[in-house]
Subunit: 419 residues, 2 copies
């Protein structure tokens, strides 16, 4: 039952107002029914996923990616639970953010409304399919999903199950669509469907995101890449610094809020770096330092290497850290603002002025004092759910919850006013 | 003193943090000094403008555009007053929009910050040069201005005068830049300077805006085009409807919040349309109606014409109105949502349910009941100034004041938290 791409986008556009007006109760019941449907159709979903896995193995997909692609009972249960959690969140739509009377008697209100039609472009992680639909739907938006070709059978099965639930609740058909053609040309055409689609959110690696940014005429929210720094100030508590770096680097290695680079004040580098080495040794974390860092660590150590210029901007997503030594907090801030991806940065310090300066001057979505960068996450921030972490400054910055999927409109009550 | 485009963008990027940290008092004094400088350099500015006018006449620029290009003492005074008005507005930067303590003791605050570097691409209106700089600077942003080639001498003179004021206040050099190359290739390269520029705002006609949307990799806020409707419901007060349409159509003809289309309920079309014709006749407003509208008006009347399909989506910016007759408010909403540009729409009605339905279901930045669309304006909304009217849903919608030129960052206070 494939559909012409333009028809599919238009169908979503045409029902956006109806979907945007659904009462919270209807939306929540629908989300719970969609969760039930995933479990009811577990067999078909696993069968479809089996095909994708088989193709993946045939195409020599790396183990890590195969693991992300694989579904089983627990993972389907996880997707269903995710939808139920979203059902429990407050409905963001309809809130009046402000309202005031102007001197001429006009009453001007600012009301939170859905964005309309949201396109999500992602890779071979079938759980994103349920998750992205849930967040878009709860915030009153129509979702058009474009997953990776490697997960196409799984995605079709998941979307069919959820669509059955939507149908039973009489939700308009365009509320959830999956683009079944996974060729590049279709994807590029999708990114230009500006007359029907209001927003694109790419979820995945840097290559995917850059391709969307470069080809889309639809507005994009960039998510993802994180070259996160921990700056160990001259007034740092060493134990805290070691603890936080160890957590930020090794607690989960492949995530965007993991630490990739550390910056150390010269006054403490000699004393601090060997302690850090010791703590990271059990996880076999390689340290790529500048000259002085290597000198402090000892260049004969097996996990110490000299950093190249490329290292400063690298998101390793691996057991590697770059190490830069600086003479001042100014130099640290400058290094971070030059090489970071505007994601999450932290300083370890006991000094009041230095901490304030760091909070003020570091240009990133999330700037921490004395805490791990790993907290940059919708759940940790109390949003209950997350569609991604924005690294741009427009519309939404940092972890994006349901509110990031909304816009506003002005509603103006008059009684005949003219200019 | 031309500068390589990339150097110019990088210079702004490099000083964005310094500019973003300026105290309100410094910014306000700088804006007043820039106003003084415009008046002090009036002679040079008028001389430069004379060259542009001469070239414009040589190139057979239409009268309307020549009028927008022309400067004189009053207009320079107007620019200076504009800067002084911006100085009087509250500084939006630094406000903490929310702050809360999480269960793990982290204190998470959301602080309003500048966007960083903003590029403004506009046409041959030299007053935009002062205005756009003022709004960007007050909101802590570096401005890179790219005006039309027809106004280049005027723009260079205006920017030089203002830069003198910035220099005297020791404001970093990159806070205000003008791109002096006005060829298309430079403009296109500018729209791709994503590593240095955070936001592009095109100000001008639809052609300019579409070219920016299609070529930019930097995020864009679309402003401008308005196909604004007035819907005269079956429960409308006719006098109010006539009054509002007359105001919205004729008070100022070339602006984006002027009314371009009216929609009339069939039950009242026969009685209402002749009254409207009478009221608009003195301004010689042409009415382009569907069959029934033409029948109600009388096709023999000199200002009545049959509408073509193209008319429904047209932003005339002229003494012309399209007239559509509908059977219901649903049909009216559907017509408006199909042909509008998401700018401003109004309903004239005495009915409660109909007014609520219109407010809920019309998809536009500003939706009015019983008032003229001409109020869609930053000053009328109480923002004190306006950089444009956004017709997209991302980041800012409707009239954009200083807050639309800001982003936020999360500042997180910890005491050693790890995950």
């Amino acid at each position: 039952m494939e559909m012409n791409l333009e028809e599919l986008c238009k169908k979503a556009h045409d029902v956006r107002t109806k979907v945007g007006m659904l009462d919270a109760e209807i939306k929540n019941r629908t989300l719970c029914k969609a969760a039930d449907a995933l479990l009811a159709h577990e067999e078909e979903i696993l069968l479809a996923n089996g095909k994708d896995m088989e193709n993946g193995r045939k195409n020599h997909m790396p183990e890590g990616l195969l693991d992300r692609l694989a579904l089983n009972h627990d993972r389907i249960l996880g997707m269903a639970d995710g939808l139920r959690e979203i059902a429990k969140l407050d409905d963001p739509i309809g809130e009046v953010l402000s309202m005031k009377k102007r001197p001429n008697g006009l009453i001007i209100g600012k009301r939170r409304v859905p964005i309309g039609v949201i396109g999500i472009i992602y890779e071979a992680r079938p759980n994103v399919t349920a998750d992205a639909f849930g967040l878009c739907f709860k915030s009153g938006n129509c979702a058009i999903l474009k997953g990776g070709s490697d997960a196409i059978h799984s995605n079709i099965a998941i979307v069919s199950a959820m669509q059955e639930a939507l149908f039973s609740m009489e939700i308009p058909d365009g509320a959830l669509s999956l683009i079944e053609q996974t060729d590049r040309e279709t994807t590029n055409r999708f990114m230009q469907m500006k007359q029907y689609v209001d927003l694109l959110i790419p979820r995945g690696g840097n290559g995917l995101i850059q391709s969307v940014v470069n080809n889309a005429t639809i507005p994009v929210i960039e998510t993802g890449t994180g070259n996160c720094h921990v700056y160990v100030d001259e007034f740092a508590d060493f134990d805290m610094a070691v603890n936080i770096i160890k957590n930020a680097k090794t607690q989960r290695i492949g995530v965007c809020n993991a630490c990739e680079s550390i910056v150390v004040h010269r006054a403490v580098a000699k004393e601090f770096l060997p302690k850090l080495y010791e703590a990271l040794e059990e996880s076999q974390v390689e340290l790529r330092g500048d000259d002085y860092a290597v000198e402090c660590l000892g260049k004969e150590l097996p996990l110490v290497k000299k950093a190249e210029e490329d290292d400063w901007g690298m998101e390793y997503l691996d057991y590697i850290l770059s190490v830069k030594v600086v003479d001042s907090v100014e130099e640290a801030i400058n290094h971070i603002n030059t090489y970071n991806t505007s994601h999450s940065e932290t300083i370890i310090t006991k000094d009041y002025d230095v901490s304030q300066k760091f909070l003020d001057e570091v240009d990133a979505a999330c700037v921490y004092v004395n805490a791990s960068t790993r907290f940059s996450d919708g759940n940790e921030f109390g949003f209950g759910a997350e569609i991604g972490i924005s690294t741009q400054k427009l519309h939404a910055r940092g972890p994006m919850g349901l509110e990031a999927l909304t816009s506003y409109k002005y509603i103006i009550y008059g009684n005949g006013q003219i200019r």
